[in-house]
Symmetry: C2
Subunit: 424 residues, 2 copies
């Protein structure tokens, strides 16, 4: 099979992975000034080479247009001057974040005099598998470099010229800063086989983060022999409690549904306590209607909001990503929590209430990556929570749960200082 | 295939997993007194039913003897009165540990007035796949219950009567404490197929922890669609630096090698700086010889310790688990670190030195789950580091690295308290 003399996909992928693993040792020792110098050079490089980037991007756009991609797809693929500036500015925001590597939160002393602590260290090599938006190349690389990791990027075939061009600028910046260019690696092969080889390179890659649609994430999770951090979907709920402040609840619900309906932290289902429903539902539904939101509702809601559409069973648990909202009246908070357990996606849930005990019980009993009291689900985002830039939002509980920032790209090792201790 | 009317392995496994998932919701809400009451009833049950446990254990021992298992295997399988008492005492130690669930380390206030924090929560359902020692059934269940998880236990076929008997006592204790018995579940099918179905039950199980030999762990990691925390092996190194305190270094090396050679945190390779080798190696080798340790050494060591055996390439990186030690002289600390990077297993490494700068650089540059200065590798253990009982030692960096105690059986969710905040 490999006797033809040409370089196989496997050889290319393994070569890239091995070089990234080699580079990761140097990255783990890089100081904050070194890493920040590389990031600054990246931002400068992107700004300085904007015309060339747009030229390379045009090749992707032409190929995409000739393959008849939709306008929305073409838009996601496009690198405008403004988007290139956003990439550069995004990298500069990462410079401003504190270096997580080397942090020791506390140390404790054992009875035998040994001092024990935990020190934050990089994971090593992180593989990012993503689709469409070329800005992921710069965003993900910046976070991986700042956290002392090497990164292997594998974007979609539709963005190959754009991704390769961005990566070339990032790699030059690494070299300028005296760091190994191979710590920012790109798999330039666009065949699916390249992903398969990447997912088997457990010797070289410590973590895989897929970014894209659910199909991509499921396929990566199924094939990978390397740990995968998954972000499946956001079916976010707001529960409006008995006695809630309707004047406060309405704007929160409008914000959660309509401020940006196409994102994972938008509300998809509204649960309303039956005692507040007669007051709350006519008001909120009139507001939602003004914003063009279609309501798919339970029979009790229908009796209060006659213009709504009866919900089908499949509407519960659907991530509409659109101006559509499922609405259900529940007889108790327990029923709301049970509904969330059954149909939710562990992403973001909020309770709107005046009752302290129920607020605390909802916080305790709902299992999602962010649980809020009296605030919009739209806050589940690294910047909004005060963590800085994020590389994704994990909806599974292993290693990271919720927005993944710099800290989630690291781990903690134990360290111990002794003066001759032996175990008895 | 399933038309025969008998219950298939798949049906049994899925039934157990589904029941455990159901039970996990209640476990997540269980208070510390409830969980401690269950643990206390477990300890009482084990003590009170010691004769019955030994009777059940005898069935396993007879089957094992008739299949010609080795004496060491039979010993590991045996439940003596003393070992049953140790299981009960081990559970009582878990009672004494603080409940990790609900802990909020800190909260911070966002500019819009939203209070944000992270709260510790159980993972949900943990699957333990293990071999031989029936005490794992009780040890693992106690840690999972205390951390608010449900646990699914699948021990080796050779211990099926013992494991089932222990589990029955643990489940009765759960019921006595008002907690769901299904939160401590045992897969009683001994066919390999049962493991395969378990590893595909990603809908019901959040984390798989294999405990046993490397072959078991690799096979589980390869087949699992559920995240696996791996503990491959411990190839632990001690590096004796130039100018080290020989009087302190010798007892540390003896302790690390001979105190319990069959465990993962015992030293397997000794690296010695060439400047201290002429003083240190004759002394330490004489002591090691007294303890019956066989030395497999580099040529430079051989010139100082003529009775040693020349090392083969495969001796570097071997986990001997025996009174055998590989010894190599290195020209610098950098060479020692490079040797560890090449042959180590990320388990435990120590430097013995008087030099502060080199101690700090070794701590920073060596990537293992525990890195020590001037102390024995034998301290890589949950109790020794002050963490309490452990469920294993992870040598991969995702989710947990090093001894896994109660905290590593949990994750953190974000929580936020608002008073009407919406995103602008």
């Amino acid at each position: 099979m490999e006797a033809t003399g040409t370089t196989t996909t496997r050889e290319i992928v393994v070569g890239v992975c091995r070089a990234a693993r080699e580079a990761s040792a140097r990255m783990g020792r890089a100081s904050a000034p070194e890493k920040n110098a590389a990031l600054a050079a990246m931002a400068r490089g992107l700004r300085g080479k904007t015309p060339w980037l747009r030229e390379q991007n045009r090749k992707d756009l032409e190929a995409a247009a000739s393959r008849g991609l939709s306008g929305a797809m073409l838009d996601r693929l496009t690198l405008s001057d403004e988007r290139i500036e956003q990439m550069a500015a995004g990298i500069e925001e990462v410079i401003a974040l504190p270096d997580p590597v080397g942090e020791v939160e506390k140390m404790w002393r054992r009875p035998n005099g040994l001092w024990v602590g935990r020190m934050r260290i990089p994971l090593g090599v992180i593989g990012i598998i993503y689709e469409s938006r070329p800005n992921v190349t710069a965003d993900a690389a910046a976070l991986c470099v700042k956290s002392g990791n090497a990164v292997i990027l594998r974007g979609g075939s539709e963005a190959i010229f754009s991704n390769t061009a961005i990566a070339r600028i990032l790699r030059e910046a690494m070299t300028l800063a005296g760091l190994p260019a191979d710590a920012v690696a790109v798999i330039e092969r666009t065949d699916r086989e390249a992903i398969d080889w990447m997912l088997q390179a457990e010797e070289y890659i410590d973590l895989i983060i897929p970014r894209g649609g659910e199909a991509l994430i499921r396929s990566v999770a199924e094939k990978s022999r390397i740990p995968v951090i998954k972000h499946y979907k956001g079916v976010c709920h707001i529960y409006v409690d008995e006695g809630a402040d309707v004047g406060q609840a309405v704007p929160i619900c409008i914000n959660a549904k309509v401020q940006r309906p196409g994102v994972c932290n938008a509300m998809e289902t509204l649960l309303v306590h039956e005692k507040v429903a007669p007051e709350f539902l006519p008001t909120v539904s009139a507001e939602l209607r003004k914003h063009g939101v279609e309501l798919r509702v339970c029979p009790q809601t229908l009796s209060l909001v006659p213009w709504a559409i009866p919900a089908a069973e499949k509407d519960w648990g659907t991530e509409f990503l659109d101006l559509i909202l499922a609405v259900r009246v529940v007889p108790s908070m327990d029923e709301a929590i049970e509904h969330i357990r059954r149909y939710g996606s562990l992403h973001t849930e909020a309770i709107l209430t005046r009752n302290h005990a129920r607020a605390m019980r909802f916080i305790r009993d709902v299992d999602s990556s962010l649980v809020l009291v009296n605030a919009s689900t739209r806050f589940n985002d690294g910047f909004q929570l005060g963590l800085g830039a994020e590389i994704g939002i994990s909806t599974t509980k292993i290693h990271a749960f919720g927005p993944m920032g710099l800290a989630e790209l690291t781990t903690m090792k134990f360290i111990a200082f002794g003066d001759g201790q032996v175990r008895s």
